[in-house]
Symmetry: C2
Subunit: 528 residues, 2 copies
């Protein structure tokens, strides 16, 4: 396997990075450039004239994709090859088949492995459909999803994005944190008799989730309700949670769907089907599946996630910017950046390549963001005038969701929102010269804009898959394994040691010697 740093395109790009286009120079960011550097696929437009790229940089980035066999790797992933592995070392050795979870529509994958996974996934969809019919008779108003990491972040981001489309009288809540205040907050708000609880854990052993489950089961029992009637499991077949004595129904997920890629599996679907109904859930899945096909498009100007991945690599590895801000100009997408934090940073926050060599270049960036226009009144000061350049990925919509809008001084709120988005994209790129140094804006802050018609189920499905594949493409090009997460293990091991110390302490046993560093913190709790 050729290493990232050894690709001819990488050397060429380092050379080009010495003199990227100066967007702050009068006339360089022209309307013509903006129009030409605009591509469309599905119902998404991507404006990238405000990135510091020119024809030559783009061509070389496309060569990089070819040299790294990005498209072949994406195809292998979608076909069900075992790509989650590190050569020569013990590793997860699994397929990566989140795309099969939604491959129910046009031009389905014919490869056996992927087809098998899609068939299994579809059987769960059928199960889900009959479960929904079953509960139609009883008036369930609330669903609490209990899960952490990918079992919460993605599902919650999507639920909030599509809350405007939920069925009347149905609400969803999330409990994730082992912090007991998190659960208390939610349980105070619902009528348990009309509440379903979905416990999500692939292994059936996630500490935070089981702790919260116990707490909620107790609350049901205290109110004289049978938890088994109200609790559903989303888990691996045969896991400790796959138990009809304790759950009204189990919905299955598989090892080949990672937590951070699991929104379109039962991890997200049970909750979304309850909230939105099957039709809208299917639209959402179809939007995602359509983007899966786009990710196989050999034309890099049409392959949106590949193009996004390459622009990101240019900013990160060649222009040297350590972070990326994702800023949706839509309040509904408020938790989308938090989902992307996991999807991207857990996937690509790696320091070894797929052969176990320590990498000598930057892998995944730090992803952060808040919705606009709010961010403008917060961290944009630094983005415009700070000493660290932050590439920005904007997302916007032509229409709003609720259709409730107000014309004030001749424009609607939605138009004001879009005006701000467009203005920021331009302002960051071109900057402004002034005799007052405090009113000087250096410009050349790279950014791009994704524009869609409306934040609806289909579009949100496409956006979700767009980012999943953007992340995967970057991992493919860097030659790392984007699908494991060994980096979370050490903290777990040490936490269990300290939990053991707390347990001993409650029994008045000696806990210090087990882990003296932990004991220092425990002892410091005394005189607070």
């Amino acid at each position: 396997m050729t290493k990232f740093n050894e690709f001819p395109a990488v050397e060429a790009l380092h050379e080009l990075a010495h003199t990227p286009i100066d967007l702050s120079k009068e006339g360089n960011l022209s309307p013509k450039r903006l129009k030409e550097m605009l591509t469309k696929n599905l119902n998404l437009k991507l404006f990238y004239g405000t990135e510091r790229v020119d024809e030559k940089v783009l061509k070389t980035l496309f060569s990089l994709a070819e040299e790294a066999k990005a498209l072949e790797k994406m195809t292998a992933m979608q076909h069900g090859e075992v790509i989650n592995k590190i050569e020569g070392f013990e590793s997860e050795n699994r397929q990566v088949l989140h795309t099969a979870m939604r491959d129910f529509f046009d031009s389905q994958t014919e490869e056996d492995e992927a087809k098998k996974a899609a068939t299994l996934a579809y059987a769960e969809m059928e199960k889900l459909k009959s479960f929904l019919d079953e509960i139609e008779k009883k008036e369930y108003t609330d669903l609490i999803q209990v899960g952490i990491g990918g079992s919460e972040l993605g599902p919650k981001a999507i639920y909030l994005a599509l809350e405007a489309f939920r069925k009347e009288g149905r609400r969803v809540h999330f409990i994730s944190n082992v912090d007991p205040d998190d659960a208390a907050q939610v349980l105070n708000k619902v009528d348990l008799n009309k509440t379903l609880v979905v416990i999500v854990s692939k292994s059936g052993t996630t500490l935070e989730t089981l702790t919260n489950e116990e707490l909620i089961r107790k609350k049901f029992a205290d109110e004289g309700l049978s938890p088994t009637n109200h609790f559903l499991a989303v888990t691996g077949k045969g896991s400790p949670m796959d138990d009809p004595e304790r759950y009204r129904k189990s919905f299955y997920i598989w090892d080949y769907v990672g937590g951070r890629y699991s929104v379109t599996s039962m991890v997200g679907c049970v909750m979304l089907a309850f909230a939105l109904g099957m039709d809208k859930l299917l639209e959402f899945l179809k939007g995602a599946s359509s983007m899966d096909k786009v990710a196989l498009d050999p034309n890099p100007e049409k392959n949106l996630p590949l193009l996004g991945a390459l622009l990101g690599i240019w900013n990160h590895n060649f222009l040297g910017y350590p972070t990326v801000a994702v800023i949706p100009y839509s309040q509904a997408m408020s938790r989308f950046p938090a989902h992307l934090q996991q999807c991207d940073m857990e996937s690509n926050g790696k320091r070894i390549d797929k052969e176990g060599h320590t990498v000598e270049f930057w892998t995944g960036p730090i992803i952060w963001g808040e919705p606009g226009t709010n961010g403008q009144h917060s961290f944009y000061q630094l983005i415009h005038q700070g000493t660290i350049t932050v590439p920005v990925e904007f997302v916007g919509f032509a229409e709003n969701q609720y259709g409730m809008d107000n014309s004030f001084k001749e424009t609607t709120s939605q138009e004001k929102l879009l005006s701000n988005l467009f203005a920021q994209s331009i302002a960051l790129a071109v900057g402004q010269k002034s005799d007052n140094p405090n009113k000087n804006f250096p410009g050349n802050r790279p950014n791009h804009v994704i524009l869609a018609s409306k934040c609806d189920p289909h579009t949100i499905g496409s956006l979700l898959a767009y980012y999943e594949h953007k992340v995967a493409f970057q991992g493919f090009i860097w030659g790392i394994n984007s699908f494991d997460q060994e980096g979370v293990q050490l903290g777990k091991v040490l936490a269990n040691k300290i939990i053991g110390q707390f347990a001993k302490k409650s029994q008045e046993e000696d806990y210090e010697k087990d882990f003296p560093l932990g004991a220092v913190y425990i002892d410091a709790l005394k005189d607070l």
Copy 2:
């Protein structure tokens, strides 16, 4: 004024940064070190043994604080000197007196300017108290705070942090985004007849806020209610919003309190007094005021915000880490990182010093974060094993808020939460060696832990002020003006141009030539 780069301590620190203590080396992070590098003031403990500092580095950092006259500048700020300015150029030329907004308790500042501001602030508190008595008779259940930036982020972060303490039957909502879906979401949830609306804008001209105000007023009028009975203004005296015909009452704020430092002014207090009652509001203010006094402590090991500022500068300017993650192990503090994003990045995301020279070093870092343990299941992979080192600031509490907890396998949820916090602090510092490169953790990820007894009004007040002063100290040491925000102007100007284009478009007038770049985006909305 000596520039940051010219301080003798800066040169010495650059030298020391070549060989910072290796915390991954067996025995270097000892229980003894942890205990010694632990300081307490008020009810807060700060553990910094997991930072890459030793006695020599600390001493040199303390010299840096002296050379930069950090304490004198903090004193000048709290005394009401005009410090918000750039020498030799047009600038805001204002005092910075957020500390006066809560200087109602022990050892009050005697300086005339600060005293005058505190007296004015206290008069507003009295007004607020009688207003609260007045509304006791009518059953108001909900309050909607309409504001953006500092009028939302800080107040919302604090409200969520203290929601556990709110008066029964009272809820607060926030509308900030010009996105009309944001307002629709909230308005669907409340009974307008029992709802107060607080419009917050110092200038009385904030576009987003006025747009949302119009939309909400219309909704009140549609339901046959008089907005004037329900609407309160928090604004500058004499602003367009200071109008008894339109608002039931106006509460005042002043130019010398910046938006991002305004939580303890009427911007936060009206809402918090409604939600928590006057007593708890006063505890919160007292907690903040106590920390203001700590920030004047000449002993840098007791002056928590100064110590925090110096540790941050060490990581940022000398070890070269571009970002900081703030991770509270408390779900209640979920929006605290978003508030800090504004407070820190808008204050210190600057590129000129106070004499107008372009700086040649990094100013403010990128601040981001989510509550733990959730983050562990998300971005911690990158923090542990990524290629970009992220310093972490942890915050934790000995007790939970609701008192609802559950012992599961011999420990409570709160103990599990704390175990995770402590474990992460240690794991990031020491790392782990393994023959499997994928199970290798390099360690030396600098972090510190702030521990308090409980997330209650007094503690949250102290924490709020701790971060305000940490940010201010960093600005003082870098020699920049942390109190203006010229960097948000350019985007506003261009947004208004594009809004003008949308308005012309709606009148079917020619809008292209006014701003051809804006027109490209507007035209792209057509065929989505």
